[in-house]
């Protein structure tokens, strides 16, 4: 057994006295940068924000009585519309499928290209980028912002800060407002908002998403990625030596140091220790320390370094967006191929294709009519005065079409049976039912069988529902059930 040491309580308290209770946030003032990666980032940002703001305004004709918004999640009516697809609540598994596609897509992209999701397309990155752009417009670039931050509360500082936060809140409002459009008819809602005729729930959700946008993009920023987001923690599992990552080529850069123009480059590395890569980093790290958790792979340091390398006349890509294998090969003066096809990428692709095909197939073959047969359990059966046995059933016809459908209900496998429907007065072997458009229609059905024709206490049989009148593409479906009676 190891020896246990007991602390003197007073001494521990003494030790804790001079420790801060929380970590102070290191303020980050990313510098403006221009270059290829930055241009890609702007392009992605414009496309993504464009899609986000424009999508709810797209129209899609679904016929009379149906909403004509291309992308709409209608909570009160319990329907979701995606172009030609209409999802009912019981079909949320399509959402699970969508999430699976998203997950495998992310795995594949990460295995191939590293943290492109984090660096380019994650909403946290996109909106933070947008907010930083506003910040730069109002307060100036890195040096000016640091100066402003350190200065006292002058009129100019108050004005600049107010303007910045004002624009941020406006952007947040637009973000929160646009989110609500996906859950309401966009033109109607905008009209209602302008006339101030909105429901408290709409106001609440606009307020909620406004507040989260303002908080996450204005203040939390890289802390979301570093502390809150689970994705950086386990995405390392998708990386291998052939994934593209942002790294510093230490073999070429070291030993680093300031370089005077015109002096020799012999015996030293290409890194001139200008710290531009640190200055532009939105998460405030030094990429020369190697690949690290905080790095979101945005590649802005590549632009910054390439700019400097061009100016000092050294080859570009000292900070490179490349795979570990290729960088190692280059360090030894060789070249290596970028391997796109690897077991890992094959597996992710196969999974992606499987889920995609399953979802598409199930969407394609999705029945437009769904029938549920529920048999009464209380009572299981009823004995009638003439000795015959009656069972009760509830039949629900779920009609996903926009028109009323007619059906003939038959029973197969019960000799001598007769049927009746609650609310319809005729008792006959054939029953006519109608299914209301875009709704679930419920019928109570009684099936009666002479005592003598029941061979046992449990007789399996089928309900047969066929389109009536016969139309092209009309469906006939069978639904298994059992007829219960007294045991012999």
């Amino acid at each position: 057994m190891s020896e246990v040491q007991y602390e003197d309580a007073a001494s521990v308290r003494e030790q804790q006295k001079d420790l801060p209770l929380y970590a102070a946030r290191v303020k980050i003032f990313p510098k403006e940068v221009a270059g290829v990666v930055r241009r890609y980032k702007w392009a992605v940002l414009i496309v993504l924000l464009g899609v986000y703001y424009i999508a709810p305004w797209l129209r899609w004709d679904r016929g009379p009585g149906a909403p004509d918004q291309a992308f709409l999640i209608d909570m009160p009516a319990r329907r979701a519309y995606f172009l030609w697809i209409e999802i009912w609540p019981q079909e949320v598994y399509y959402l699970a499928g969508l999430l699976l596609i998203g997950a495998f897509g992310l795995f594949l992209a990460t295995a191939l290209f590293g943290r492109v999701w984090c660096g380019f397309t994650c909403p946290q990155t996109v909106w933070t980028d947008l907010f930083m752009w506003v910040e730069r417009l109002v307060e100036g670039d890195r040096a000016a912002r640091i100066r402003l931050d350190k200065s006292g509360w002058t009129v100019a500082k108050v004005a600049k800060r107010s303007l910045k936060h004002g624009v941020w809140i406006l952007l947040s409002l637009l973000t929160g407002g646009a989110w609500i459009m996906y859950f309401n008819d966009a033109p109607t809602l905008v009209n209602d908002i302008l006339l101030w005729q909105v429901t408290p729930s709409v106001l609440f959700f606009i307020g909620l998403f406004t507040a989260t946008t303002y908080l996450l993009a204005g203040f939390a920023r890289e802390q979301v990625c570093t502390y809150m987001c689970p994705w950086p923690r386990f995405q390392a599992a998708m990386f291998d030596e052939d994934s593209l990552i942002v790294t510093y080529e230490a073999w070429r850069g070291e030993p680093r140091g300031p370089h005077k123009k015109g002096t020799d480059w012999d015996g030293r590395g290409d890194c001139v220790a200008c710290n531009q890569c640190v200055a532009v980093c939105p998460t405030g790290i030094d990429i020369r320390d190697g690949n690290q958790l905080e790095c979101i792979g945005c590649g802005l340091c590549i632009d910054a370094c390439n700019d400097v390398m061009a100016r000092v006349g050294r080859p570009a890509n000292l900070i490179a967006y490349d795979s570990i294998n290729r960088q190692n090969a280059r360090a030894q003066g060789q070249t290596a191929k970028y391997r796109l096809i690897r077991p890992r990428t094959i597996i992710y692709t196969v999974l992606l294709v499987i889920v995609g095909v399953v979802i598409m197939a199930s969407l394609w073959t999705r029945p437009v009519v769904d029938v549920n047969v529920l048999r009464d359990r209380n009572p299981l059966f009823v004995r009638l005065t003439d000795g015959s046995i009656r069972n009760g059933f509830t039949i629900k016809i779920l009609n996903k079409q926009r028109s009323e459908q007619g059906y003939v209900l038959d029973v197969d496998g019960l000799p001598g049976e007769s049927m009746s429907v609650v609310g319809q007065d005729t008792a006959s072997p054939t029953v006519y039912l109608t299914a209301a458009p875009d709704a679930v229609t419920t019928y109570r059905i009684y099936v009666r069988v002479p005592r003598d024709s029941l061979k046992s206490g449990t007789v399996p049989f089928d309900f047969v529902l066929s389109q009536h009148p016969i139309v092209e593409g009309g469906v006939t479906s069978r639904h298994e059930s059992v007829f219960r009676g007294p045991e012999k």
Partner: protein, 290 residues
Amino acid sequence: MPTKPEKDAITGTEIRSHEWDGIQEMDNPLPRWWLYVFYASILISIIYMVLYPAIPGITGYTKGILGYTERHALEADLVAHRESQAGFFDRIAAATPAEIREDADLLNFALAGGKSAFADNCAPCHAAGGAGRAGFPNLADDDWLWGGSLDAIQTTLLHGIRWDQDDDTRVSEMPRFLADEILTTEQIADVTQYVLAFVNRADDPAAAARGAPIYAEQCGVCHGAKGEGNQELGSPRLSNDIWQYGGTADLVAAQIGNPQHGVMPSWSGRLDESTIKMLTVYVHSLGGGQ
């Protein structure tokens, strides 16, 4: 043993002096945003305690300045719910059960309302789905004591059966043939065989033959010459195999000798008119409605 705080070589963070199996812990402070969330939670809990009922005492509890109680919230919900159904209730109040059955919307509403009222008020005796139990009639079959038309069901619901407090209640009483010494035990056994013969269940044809004249004299007036029953009097039909108090010879004889009489309360005054109409339509829909 007090020691000087040890620092981690790489980060410079202090290391807590305790150690488990060689594992030591760095004394990293909490992130600031986390602390803010923590403080905000404390603030919210204080605001909550001011606004809402929170702290229990010996005789009561702090009420909170909003005066919120779940009971009032429920009552408000129920009022709002009833208001939303008012249109249906008005239409049902204005319609007869037969008219309700004609209107698909009203029928659906009445069946749902009737089902829930049945579960609350009727199911304790008549069982879920009206399946009935010994002594309490099955409402799902087509054998009715007092009639299975909408009107007859509504009358039974309104006034009850053998319910003293209602002057219009349905009343009938079968004589106690043995207890009042109208028939002997042997005669009752013979009549029992005769009655069981209606459904081909007699096991003593001779006794059944002896019972025929007794039946004609004592029973036929109410139960009909061929045991067809009489819904005017609430006398059960005997010519089918549905038995309220059991269909074995012993139980039939017991019912003749010292009959049990079912009692059902009148529901007018306990349930409103609309609920009774919904119950009428629901019971009628259980399968035996005539």
